[in-house]
């Protein structure tokens, strides 16, 4: 389960070179982020609140534009081809799909309609789509129960499942997952990562996931990048990161004595930063 390297070595699918992102023409958020996602790999993007994970993912999927943000420097290549100027829909055509942070289900559509919109770009026929719908329902039985409810009226976790399921419906080649575990019950978190892993292994889908739950993320990922204040401050194979003492203390919450209780953190403690 804990392979330190992606199975299929070599080919890089997605490559981000030293990008800089500015919001609203004035707010500089990413200050030169580079990363690469190998074909068939699971790559984790870690970092605290506001580090720029979401921004990085949106830059890749070209959704920044609609937030009045822009990539001002650097380049993003997918399969060696520059994709920065593509429309988001074209990128989906190419097989890159993003699951956005904060769910973003279509409120007025039913759960099932939501899932079906995921298959919007597919051309492989009704049968295949129906089969995938079944697959998603098998992954998330809760969704099957709520299939006819408007997504706006489902619980937070149900919406999260819906958003993930929707992305799976498009049969992508690369999935950008933004905080997939957020708001999900613990056993479901394990399950989601299980799904990620199995989809990755069985169908060769590559993942780039931004995740706060470092613990799980590093358990399933092959490679990790740690982002802080818009810069990559550390990267390495997941197994190595897991052993790094700083990562251990600040991201995994374990110190040499083992896991600390959340009750013991009451004394004031300054966070150590790689950058000041």
């Amino acid at each position: 389960m804990l392979d330190a390297t992606p199975e299929t070595k070599g080919e890089t699918l997605l490559e981000v070179n030293n990008i800089e992102v500015i919001y609203n023409h004035v707010i500089l958020v990413l200050k030169g982020v580079s990363l690469s996602v190998p074909k068939g790999g699971i790559t984790a993007l870690l970092g605290g609140n506001g580090a720029g994970k979401t921004t990085t993912l949106k830059a890749i999927s070209n959704l920044l534009h609609s937030e009045r943000g822009e990539v001002t420097k650097g380049s993003i290549n997918y399969r060696g081809e520059r994709v920065q100027d593509l429309a988001p829909a074209d990128l989906v055509q190419k097989g890159v799909i993003q699951v956005m942070e904060g769910r973003h289900c279509f409120e007025h559509l039913t759960v099932e309609e939501n899932l079906m919109t995921g298959a919007y770009t597919r051309k492989d026929g009704k049968g295949a789509i129906a089969a995938d719908l079944e697959m998603v329902y098998d992954y998330f039985p809760r969704l099957r129960e709520r299939r006819k409810s408007q997504a706006g009226y489902t619980s937070g976790g149900e919406q999260q499942m819906c958003a993930i399921g929707r992305a799976l419906m498009s049969r992508p080649e690369t999935i950008l997952l933004d905080e997939p575990s957020m708001g999900l019950a613990p056993q479901l978190v394990e399950q989601i990562f299980g799904i990620v892993k199995s989809v990755n292994e069985n169908e060769g889908v590559s993942f780039l996931l931004a995740e706060q739950n470092t613990n799980v993320a590093l358990r399933f990922a092959h490679y990790g990048y740690i982002l802080e204040s818009g810069r990559v401050v550390m990267d390495g194979p997941a197994a190595e990161l897991r052993e790094n003492p700083d990562v251990k203390e600040f991201y995994l919450g374990v110190s040499d004595e083992g896991r600390k209780s959340f009750r013991d953190v009451r004394s004031y403690r300054r966070r150590k930063r790689w950058l000041s």
Partner: protein
């Protein structure tokens, strides 16, 4: 008094017919709102623009003739040909598609994910713009639109009702044609939006631009598609109203008659536009017929709105609109 009753019935029939004409305009609003959450203020101007273009093409007018003459001192006005109605309608349809592409390219594309009110405002800017361009292209004099739609009292109905009730009902033949066209439009648009993949995509776009983008729905395509359809609906509405009152600026004001219809039927429901239109049409005609004379008449403008308002207090999303989701 049976006579009073007959009159009321006649007023009601005419209300139904007027309602259909309102609904034709409202339909354009609904389409765009449903498909992108944009409240398209420019719908009325689009109807005017379509009608102007239609007349211009039919009469072989030179577009921007006035401007060209002013700049180059030339004296050109007409190409000197007449285009048959059917062909002209088709060509106007093409122009409306061009307009949709233009709007997507220069306006909507840059306003993805903005709040509703901003998009609404943009359509107002658009309305100004199109009004100006329409005038520049075709001139602001009044034009007569004659695509061969029948007009005037329908004698069949007049006679039939005369034989039955001893009082001949007045029904305008134009209204009858409008009703048939509206029914066709509504039926086909409902089927399109309910049962096609694109229909689902439209509703998704209306809910959340970003999420729609993220699943690979091309906003550009959707917008061009929808604005083209709305442009076509505007052309139909412009044709009907233009036949009634000539083609000139006031045509754009019919949008105001469509708003209460929209509100009552629900911004997101295509059948709602028709039902809303009928209720408003009947309501205002009956009110004007019964109460109007007591309060000095000309009540139609506000009564439609008040009627719709009363409905809304009981159903804030209109009769058939999508329920407004309120959750935390």
């Amino acid at each position: 008094m049976p006579e009073q009753l007959l009159w009321a019935a006649e007023a009601m029939m005419n209300g139904l017919m007027a309602g259909v004409l309102y609904a034709l305009v409202a339909l354009g609003f609904v389409l765009i709102f449903k498909a992108s959450g944009v409240f398209n203020y420019a719908q009325g101007v689009m109807a005017l623009f379509a009608a102007l273009t239609l007349v211009g093409i039919m009469d072989g007018q030179v577009p921007f003739a006035h401007l060209i003459n002013a700049v180059f001192g030339t004296e050109i006005h007409h190409f000197g040909w007449h285009v048959p109605a059917i062909l002209a309608i088709f060509l106007t349809g093409v122009v409306m598609v061009g307009l949709a592409i233009f709007i997507e390219r220069f306006v909507l594309r840059h306003l993805v994910n903005q709040p509703d009110i901003i998009l609404f405002m943009a359509t107002i800017g658009l309305a100004y713009f199109m009004e100006g361009v329409g005038d520049l292209m075709w001139g602001s004099e009044i034009k007569t639109l004659d695509v061969g739609l029948p007009q005037g009292i329908s004698e069949t109905i007049d006679e039939a009702t005369y034989n039955w009730f001893g009082y001949g009902f007045f029904i305008d033949r134009l209204d009858i044609v409008a009703t048939i066209i509206a029914a066709l439009l509504v039926a086909s648009l409902t089927i399109f939006s309910q049962y096609s993949k694109q229909g689902r995509a439209l509703r998704a776009v209306a809910d959340d631009h970003q999420a729609a983008l993220s699943v690979g729905i091309s906003l550009r395509f959707i917008w061009v598609l929808v604005w083209s359809i709305a442009g076509f609906v505007a052309l139909v509405a412009g044709m009907m109203w233009g036949a009634k009152s000539g083609v000139q600026f006031s045509l754009s004001l019919i949008a105001l008659k469509a708003l209460p219809v929209l509100m009552l039927g629900g911004f997101t429901s295509i059948p709602g536009a028709i039902v809303g239109g009928l209720i408003i049409g009947v309501g205002e005609k009956l009110f004007e017929f019964s109460i109007g004379p007591l309060v000095g008449g000309a009540t139609e403008n506000w009564f439609a709105y008040v009627l719709a308002l009363v409905f809304l207090v009981f159903r804030p999303q209109g009769l058939f609109g999508e329920k407004i989701i309120e959750r935390v």
